[in-house]
Symmetry: C2
Subunit: 343 residues, 2 copies
DNA sequence: TTCTCTACTGTGAACGCTCACAGAAGCATG
DNA sequence: CATGCTTCTGTGAGCGTTCACAGTAGAGAA
């Protein structure tokens, strides 16, 4: 522990100082730092002691200069900003990725691309090699940033299956269709027969898949698809509220509703309560995500849990593998029905 | 525009390539890159053309190696993770800081310190000089990370006035006391006389100041402070809900309540509605923050706007100034009363 | 002319690390 | 004994910049 006087930062120790302290050469210290292969136990020990004594920390810039790697990765969000502000799922994902990367001692650079200008700046930054890879959150199809990055050969893993990109892009996603099936089956098992749905945006795979699951289960139960029972939203709370109003107007006899995200489900609950419907007595409500919003709702939301911790961990794992030279991979993770008060 | 075959990344152009292309020396290119002083217009032009032609982007690692700066800054959050997940204010702040830094071409490294282990790792990372400065979000007093960083001479600017750190730490904050005064005056102006308060945590300056403003205005209106009308929360939604229940039990005649954060106010609204109180007819509710949560509430919350965009911009400005050698500074920004449906 | 001053330009030497290579030592094999 | 192999170690080169310094050219003053 070295104390600094008056807040001044002193020149930090270099690998050279450690080598001198340990009585070995720079090369040996470097080998210890990078895994310790081909180093005698004695040297190993001496170097580690010297590192502790000097408080040495590797200079990442010097390392990067020669290795060509930056040992940092970018977390790129190309979603519209209002969703970033309102949807706690991003925070859960962001934290998960940060932690998973921290275990590899890799810092996460946050990149928010809202405007066209920001997109350009960020694309330029990434393709310049300032990060080794990118964790991408962009549910909408045909994201130009993603295509550019992919074209430039930047390792990339998306959260959720990207539409319109070649098959050569990695992604990690929950099993949306299966989750939707579980939820709708659950609603039917409660005896509900007029089950509505507020879908997500239908230019996203999640939106499409969850709707597909809903339709499948209705068909398998021998129920006819009533178009008045289906409206679409955009994952915002407000769109859930508007969607519920539309549903109630089109199909006043609705006795359950499957909402494609918890945030929209919050809006649905608010609209139902305003219209005097009791939840779950009059209308059962099922959400999707198991985001913190589900627990914050009154009544607490029955929902489909996306395994966020596993999703972020897998995203990082797949990305690092790809940086290491492996081929792109797709990972689909199972979901789980979480029963709470709203059904 | 260079096209890459088969996704392979080719060796990027260096300053040397640019120099050769422009017919000048490395030094001249470097000067153009760093402000263009002492460079003839002709050379300037030639270099810029060469940069465009080659698609050159500076190698930040090489630059950092010699300048000793990393040209990146850290955004450090030492709040408990549940608040990060649930409070949209963080996202607003995070986005604001990211954008303000982007204007200076400085990437933001996200650092989340939840566990003791993470704290140590992050402290080590920062003090090793891997970032030039830190934007700190840590409302609680006596944060050991902050003290360590300050002791190590790391440029630091906090969001909100830190308690217990020496006066030599920069911070940017909204005028909490004045905002609280405005809100309570507003509630009194509506004719309410039994005005309760749900405070923030009282080991934070924001929590203390907002309570102080409340007390001041009661005193100036000649109202006696009734301790049954004051309960404290921790900024979470759940604590707002619990607080409101306690208030209603202790002081059933309460006709208004000032809640120290919008998120807690959401909880208060839920509790009031459950207890059958109409808002604002029976009880007027005022929040604090003007976070996205205020607009998402039903009814929409009257609240005190914290100028988040200015706060983040000032944090970045003060931090960069400090990195540039200036003394620590404190910035207090004015708040604004935003009237909506809940009062 | 000669000197000085200003505006500009080029060059070598770092920055701290990794990597390739050469070499040394120890030990078994031919 | 020479030869090979394995394990370990030191050394020089170089990654792509910036910085200090030296040097050049042109303008103006003595």
């Amino acid at each position: 522990m070295t104390m600094n006087a008056a807040g001044g930062r002193r020149r930090p120790p270099t690998i050279h100082d450690v080598a001198r302290e340990a009585g070995v050469s720079r090369g040996t210290v470097s080998r210890v730092l990078n895994g310790g292969h081909y180093v005698s136990p004695a040297a190993q020990e001496a170097v580690n002691a010297a590192i502790r004594k000097t408080g040495y920390v590797v200079n990442r810039h010097a390392r990067s200069l020669i290795t060509g790697r930056s040992d940092s990765i970018g977390f790129l969000l190309t979603e519209p900003q209002e969703r970033f502000f309102e949807d706690p799922n991003f925070n859960v994902l962001l934290r998960g990725c940060t932690q998973a990367l921290a275990a590899h001692d890799i810092p996460l650079l946050l990149m928010l691309a809202g405007t066209e200008d920001e997109r350009r700046r960020i694309t330029r930054y990434i393709t310049a090699g300032h990060v080794d890879g990118v964790l991408l959150v962009s549910s909408h199809s045909g994201d130009p940033v993603a295509e550019q990055l992919r074209g430039a050969g930047v390792p990339l893993v998306a959260c959720g299956k990207p539409i319109g990109l070649g098959s050569k892009v990695s992604y990690v996603a929950a099993d949306d269709r299966d989750g939707a099936r579980d939820m709708v089956r659950h609603l039917l098992s409660l005896g509900r027969r007029r089950v509505g749905m507020v879908t997500g945006p239908l230019d996203t795979p999640g939106g499409v898949e969850r709707l597909a699951g809903y339709k499948e289960v209705l068909a398998e139960a021998g129920l006819e698809l009533d178009e008045r029972l289906v409206v679409s939203g955009d994952y915002t709370r407000a769109s859930g509220e508007a969607g519920a109003e539309r549903l109630l107007a089109q199909a006043p006899d609705m006795d359950a509703v499957f909402v494609a995200s918890d945030l929209m489900a919050q809006g649905v609950l608010a609209a139902l309560q305003r219209e005097g419907r009791r939840v779950p007595e009059d209308v059962a409500v099922g959400g999707f995500d198991d985001s913190p919003a589900a627990l914050a709702s009154r009544p607490e939301l029955t929902t489909i849990r996306q395994p966020w911790d596993r999703i972020s961990a897998e995203m990082v794992r797949v990305l690092l593998a790809q940086i290491g030279g492996e081929d792109p991979a797709a990972v689909i993770l199972p979901t789980e029905l979480v029963k709470r008060e709203s059904t």
